[in-house]
Every structure is written in structure tokens, then in C-alpha cells.
């Protein structure tokens, strides 16, 4: 089955990429943009989903600085 993993900076952790995007948007004329956070989308095909959390904790995300969520998409 196909799984989609979303990894993002933990709340409260400085996100320089998000800040850079946030300040770039008004420069293009897009006003009214609030906080921006940049994360990572990982799609993978797996045979069993009982290992998903372990995969996320050990490799796909770094729990010290990131949080993750995953869902089966097909």
C-alpha cells in the first residue's frame, strides 16, 4: 500500500526556510501572508504499516526537531 508521510519542524523550532518563503511572497505582490512553515512530503510503498512509526522515528523524521504524521493513501 501507498503511504504519505508529512514531516514538519516542531512548533516553536526556528524554521528559516519558512521565514524565507514568508518574506519572499510579499516581494511578489502576495500580501497578507502569515506564518509559513516548510516541511517534507515523503510517499512510499510498504507491505506492512505496523513499522511506519519506527521508520518515521528512526529515519524519515528527526524527533529532536521535527514532528511527523502519516496516512495510507491507497
Amino acid at each position: 500500500m501507498k503511504v504519505r508521510v508529512l514531516v514538519r519542524p516542531k512548533s516553536g523550532i526556528l524554521d528559516p526556510q519558512g521565514e524565507a518563503v514568508k518574506s519572499a511572497l510579499p516581494a511578489l505582490g502576495f500580501e497578507g501572508v502569515g506564518n509559513v512553515h516548510v516541511g517534507r512530503l515523503i510517499e512510499l510503498e510498504v507491505e506492512r504499516i505496523d513499522e511506519m512509526d519506527a521508520m518515521c522515528r528512526r529515519l524519515l523524521a528527526n524527533p529532536t526537531i521535527e514532528e511527523y504524521e502519516w496516512e495510507v493513501i491507497s
Binding site: 523550532i13 526556528l14 528559516p16
Partner: protein
């Protein structure tokens, strides 16, 4: 003394580190990422570069390379390990050092010489320095912004485990931290590159002060 330098695909300071080991007067030993043992080295340097292209996160993939198994064992047994730049990132990903290295606060790759202060000489990699000594060392990184949660930072400060501190913070790192050590003090991670200042022809040999520390008190 035999000093190993771990080499991953994408490491690019491995040659510099091997050269610096020679400059120290020790025997350099190449440790390939697929090696299953550490070739009886007395200390290990995990060099800078972009191991595995920095894919996913810097150091995230290197952490699972074959050579990391014996390296982790060596570190947990008290063997001296020094992670430089990407090597520092690898050691945090491997949980041999606390915290993580985030993107530089201004999103710019920083490549220049910076002044750092030696905050602790109680590690095998700084024992040859003087406490409070200031060194001018090169940095070259995109993710050098040290992060750890409040409790961990307090622990590092209280236990004197901040090894190097920037005088002028180049990347946004917490408490101006440029290098830390583990609880056992044998594993040290630093963002500056001492191997790049290991010969007068490179403009300075200040880096040898750090690297040569490991020879002090070692079985040579």
C-alpha cells in the same frame, strides 16, 4: 597512534583530515563506509562534507552506514571521536551527541574564518588548548545552527559540555555553541574545521592545537 578517518560517499574533507593527521605526527587510517571494523585505530575523525548528498537531512543516511556500527561501539566504550561539520551532524543523528544542527538562521551558506573560544579543555580533543583560549578557525556550512531543547542546553552548560563557543555567532546557534561533547566527554562535535588550518601554507596551523590534543595522554 593510529587515527581513523571515516569516509562516506559525499564526504569531501576526508583527504584534508588524513593530511592533518599526518601533520599531527600520527598514522592516518582510511575507514571506508562499508568497512565492518575500525582497523584497530586509537581515535576516529568523522570528517566534513555532504555525506549521501545531505539527502533527507545532513547526516541522516550516513548514520546507518556499516562502519557506524563499530564506530558507535567504539564511542560508547570511551574511544575518542571527533565529528567535524558534517561529521558533527552525523554524530547528532546517531545520538552519540545531543541536539541537532538546523539550517543557518539567515538561510545562507557561511564560509569564512570565525573566532571561537575553548570553553572546556576536559575532552581528548581540546586538552592541548588552554581554557578560555581563542582560536581563529574556518567554518563552511549550511546547517550549523545548533539546537537542543532548554533542558538539554542547561545540562550542557551546567556540566561544562559546551566545548567551543563563537565570539560572534555566524549561524544562529543556541548559546553561540560551536561544539559540544557527550556525557562521557570522549565524543566531540564541532562545526569549525581544524584540519583546514593544519599547515602554515594554509594560512595557519592553529587547528593542530585541537587535533594534537588527542595525542596527549594517549598510547602512542
Amino acid at each position: 597512534m593510529r587515527i581513523g578517518v571515516a569516509i562516506f560517499p559525499g564526504s569531501n574533507c576526508d583527504r584534508d583530515a588524513l593530511f592533518a593527521v599526518e601533520q599531527m605526527g600520527a598514522d592516518p587510517v582510511e575507514l571506508w563506509h562499508a568497512d565492518a571494523d575500525l582497523k584497530a585505530v586509537d581515535a576516529v575523525i568523522v570528517p566534513g562534507g555532504f555525506s549521501y548528498g545531505d539527502y533527507l537531512r545532513p547526516g541522516a543516511i550516513a548514520r546507518f552506514a556499516k562502519v557506524m556500527g563499530p564506530l558507535e561501539e567504539f564511542a560508547r566504550a570511551g574511544g575518542p571521536v571527533l565529528g567535524i561539520c558534517n561529521g558533527f551532524q552525523v554524530l547528532t543523528e546517531a545520538h552519540l551527541l545531543p541536539g541537532a544542527l538546523l539550517r543557518n538562521i539567515d538561510m545562507r551558506f557561511v564560509c569564512r574564518r570565525v573566532r571561537v573560544r575553548v570553553e572546556s579543555t576536559e575532552t581528548p580533543w581540546t586538552s592541548g588548548c588552554e581554557s578560555g583560549e581563542e582560536l581563529m578557525l574556518p567554518v563552511a556550512h549550511n546547517e550549523g545552527n545548533y539546537f537542543a531543547d532548554e533542558a538539554t542546553l542547561k545540562e550542557l552548560e551546567d556540566e561544562g559540555r559546551v566545548v567551543l563557543r563563537y565570539l560572534k555567532n555566524p549561524n544562529g546557534s543556541a548559546n553561540d555553541i560551536a561544539g559540544v561533547c557527550n556525557e562521557g566527554r570522549n565524543v566531540v562535535g564541532i562545526m569549525p574545521h581544524p584540519e583546514r588550518v593544519s599547515d602554515p601554507v594554509l594560512g595557519s596551523e592553529k587547528g593542530l592545537k585541537i587535533l594534537r590534543s588527542v595525542l596527549v595522554g594517549a598510547r602512542i
